[in-house]
């Protein structure tokens, strides 16, 4: 009886201790994550100018309705969709191809892997600054193009090219990261599968189609979903390279959100943008879970 009781208190003590050890994380989570999360959700239903906190009013769904009649936001939304569907398939495909190539290399694997992975560990701000000069009128890209007799362009200033230029940079910068993920998945495929396929007289294409692809399917899924989520949130590239210009052709949801919140100080309205984006990304995440569930 007594032993049971002391066991209970020690359990209580233990949980208290655990709580103490976890306190730093829990506190930061509560203060810097949960509180802003809830507060911004409430804000998204309010009219709130940070300069006039006293005029904060509940305005229902007005902020959300306003999103749809805000030309700039709609333009930013369309640009983001273009960005997501322009980059995600290309990144997935190219990084898979690179991983397949690297997987067959015996010498210098480490070198190539690091070379391709390097861009993804450089800060995107640094990458953007490099690309700003790479894309400039007499930058390397135009010199290269003129070598092949193609007329030069101001890539980031012409409305037609600004967004594709940013997308190309994003593809270059993130390909290595996903390649490493694919490489890991490829390395995990048991060699026996290929050996028995060889015995059965399967060709390279068949081996890829019936062994490699099904085996790395979870990874493909993971890469597609993670990449989609990241693409929806595209911001630093736009912020450093174009600030949404020219004529708003590179404006994205998060950049619009930033401008609304920190340039025009409309916190309520920008919170509504944030929650719309949240809903979109939540949809994609749910889809991912569903997909992974069917896996099992």
């Amino acid at each position: 009886m007594i032993g049971h009781k002391s066991g209970k208190t020690s359990l209580k003590r233990k949980s208290q201790q655990t709580l103490l050890f976890l306190a730093p994380w829990i506190l930061t989570f509560l203060i810097f994550w949960l509180y802003p999360l809830i507060f911004s959700f409430i804000l998204s239903f309010c009219d709130y100018d940070i300069f006039h906190p006293e005029t904060m009013r509940f305005s229902g769904f007005q902020n959300y309705f306003r999103l749809f009649s805000d030309e700039r936001f709609v333009q930013g939304f369309k640009n983001t969709v273009f960005f997501v569907f322009g980059t995600t398939p290309v990144i997935t495909m190219l990084s898979l191809c690179l991983a397949l190539l690297l997987n067959n290399i015996k010498i210098g694997l480490g070198f190539f892997r690091s070379a391709f992975f390097l861009p993804s560990i450089i800060s995107i701000i640094v990458v953007s600054t490099i690309f700003k000069f790479f894309y400039s009128p007499d930058g390397s890209l135009n010199s290269l193009m003129s070598f092949f007799g193609i007329t030069s362009h101001a890539w980031l200033v012409e409305t037609k090219f600004a967004m594709p230029a940013i997308m190309a940079m994003n593809i270059w910068a993130s390909i290595g990261y996903y390649m490493v993920l694919f490489l890991a998945a490829l390395k995990a495929i048991p060699v026996q599968l290929y050996e028995s396929a060889d015995v059965d007289g399967a060709g390279e294409l068949q081996k890829f189609r019936y062994i490699t692809l099904p085996m790395i399917k979870p990874m493909i899924l993971f890469v597609v979903v993670i990449n989609t989520i990241r693409s929806w949130q595209v911001f630093p590239e736009v912020f450093t390279l174009t600030r949404g210009g020219p004529l708003g052709t590179t404006d994205t949801i998060v950049h619009r959100l930033y401008e609304t919140a920190f340039r025009f100080h409309e916190m309520g309205y920008s919170s509504a943008m944030a929650y719309l984006l949240f809903a979109i990304i939540l949809g994609f995440s749910l889809l991912q879970m569903k997909l992974l569930e069917t896996q099992k």
Partner: protein, 492 residues
């Protein structure tokens, strides 16, 4: 008291390294108390340093710290803490700090931001304290609101016309006669412009925010145009602006449309005949391109007998936020740091802007290079953009209107839309001021460029479009799922 508490809350950390049974008991016994102490410790930092004056600015501490040291030596007992902001998010930081009542005591503000802070009543009235400075410093407009002075000008900057002498000679132009009128400017740009060889007539700013209007507005001002009149009415849609815009359209043909840093770089490499730029190039060009032959000139005026030369005037204002712990001493510090002798080192090294103190211009530094004289002369006619609570929105409206024209938009429609956009934001501002919440008929500025009023009429269509896009996204994802399912089935 505070010290003991701080010690106590550190205790668990100390003991956790080698846990003894006693500490275990201690940890468990007063756990809630400990949590409270940890919380207190987390929020403790603002409590310390009560009597320190906090100074936020955008400069390398090596310029600021020596001045603070000298000031502290002269005024024993006063402590000033220097904190450096960066231009990327400095304004956000100041705004958020102000909203949370944590604004610094002393703060440097960009001269186009002050309108907002002054009109919101965020700053301390310094009219009495700085009365004796009024003749000594320049650029008081951005520090003045409703006849009262809320700040002290620290640094001022303007832009002039840079031109490449070598390219002038090669094109048969005289480097001794830089363009004086709009027609001259177009003529020079046309003669130099040779994109086949990678040589461009003049640099036109594009592809980034916040810059274009600074380069374009001088032509409006020089032509007698304005953004707001005395009563605060938006008068940008005027004949003067239209003339300036159509001149800009003609000029643009012989120009390189790029961002400021790329234009500066092209000029440095001798690829650009002319550009409107600032004194920061003086710090770079002699080091990076010693052979570059260039000179500066006043910004051209509309015609021989028409208008005058004008440029953009901007700079740094030092202000005291309400809640400043020691306004008298802080004001003394403002007077101290804006003195020519302390502002000059910043100019000499960074060359971004000049001291607001007029005495500084008698320094031999400015007479050593005749090109500085042009800057000082240009400053006499340079105009500071309107000091207005909605300047940030206005700036974006103007920038958008000019950018539209730059990309082939119609001048009249662009200006009409700018007026509409201004009416919207000013109505919204008035509504807020009167305590009314945002109403659907007013939407925030800088949008609705097509000129149609967007309300409930068009929103169902937009909702439909957006819903279609979202559905499409979902549909695509489902397709993806199906394809994978199919692959799996085949494999199985």
């Amino acid at each position: 008291m505070l010290k003991i508490r701080k010690f106590k809350c550190c205790k668990p950390v100390v003991f956790l390294i080698r846990i003894s049974p006693m500490t275990k008991r201690l940890i468990c016994l007063d756990f809630p108390l400990k949590v409270a102490l940890v919380l207190l410790f987390l929020f403790a930092p603002p409590i310390f340093g009560e009597d320190e004056l906090v100074f936020w600015n955008f400069w390398d501490p090596k310029f600021i710290l020596p001045v603070i040291q000298k000031f502290e030596a002269l005024h024993p007992g006063i402590k000033i803490r220097n904190e450096q902001l960066n231009w990327g998010n400095g304004l956000d930081k100041i705004v958020v700090a102000h909203a949370n009542k944590r604004a610094p005591d002393i703060c440097e503000l960009g001269s186009t931001w002050t309108g907002k802070f002054m009109s919101e009543g965020a700053l301390i009235d310094l009219t009495e304290k700085v009365r004796d400075l009024s003749d000594k410093l320049a650029m008081w407009e951005p520090a003045t609101w409703n006849g009262k002075i809320y700040g002290v000008p620290w640094l001022v900057g303007t832009r002039v016309l840079f031109f490449n002498k070598a390219l002038f000679r090669e094109s048969g132009l005289s480097p001794q006669n830089p363009p004086e009128t709009w027609d001259d400017l177009i003529n020079c740009a046309q003669k130099i412009h040779n994109p086949k060889n990678g040589i461009y007539g003049i640099g036109i700013n594009a592809g980034e925010g916040h810059i274009l209007y600074k380069k374009f507005l001088p032509f409006v001002w020089g032509n007698g145009g304005r953004i707001l009149d005395e009563t605060g009415k938006f008068v940008f849609d005027s004949l003067e602006t239209k003339e300036a815009l159509s001149f800009y359209q003609r000029l643009m043909v012989y120009g390189l449309k790029e961002k400021q840093d790329i234009l500066d770089d092209a000029f440095k490499r001798g690829k650009l005949g002319m550009e409107i730029s600032g004194s920061w190039n003086f710090a770079r060009y002699p080091k990076e391109a010693p052979n570059l032959e260039y000179d500066v000139a006043l910004i051209p005026r509309p015609g021989k007998n028409k208008g005058h030369t004008s440029s953009f005037l901007g700079g740094e204002i030092l202000v005291l936020f309400k809640g400043c712990k020691n306004p008298d001493m802080a004001a003394e510090f403002l007077k101290f740091i804006t003195k020519a002798e302390y502002a000059l080192p910043i100019t000499k090294e960074a060359l971004v802007s000049f001291p607001a103190s007029k005495e500084a211009f008698s320094d031999p530094f400015f007479s050593a290079d005749p090109r500085f004289a042009i800057f000082i002369k240009q400053m006499e006619t340079a105009v500071h953009p309107p000091v207005h609570p909605l300047w940030i929105e206005l700036e974006s409206i103007i920038n958008d209107a000019v950018e539209k024209v730059l990309y082939g938009g119609d001048i009249d429609a662009g200006l009409k839309n700018a007026t509409l956009a201004y009416e919207k934001i000013s109505k919204q501002y008035q509504d807020r001021k009167n305590g009314n919440a945002y109403s659907e008929s007013t939407s925030s500025g800088n949008k609705s460029e097509s000129g149609e009023t967007l309300g409930f009429v068009s929103s169902p269509l937009s909702i439909f479009l957006l819903a279609a896009v979202s559905l499409g996204t979902l549909f695509n994802a489902i397709l993806l799922l199906l394809i994978y399912g199919e692959v799996k089935k085949n494999v199985g």
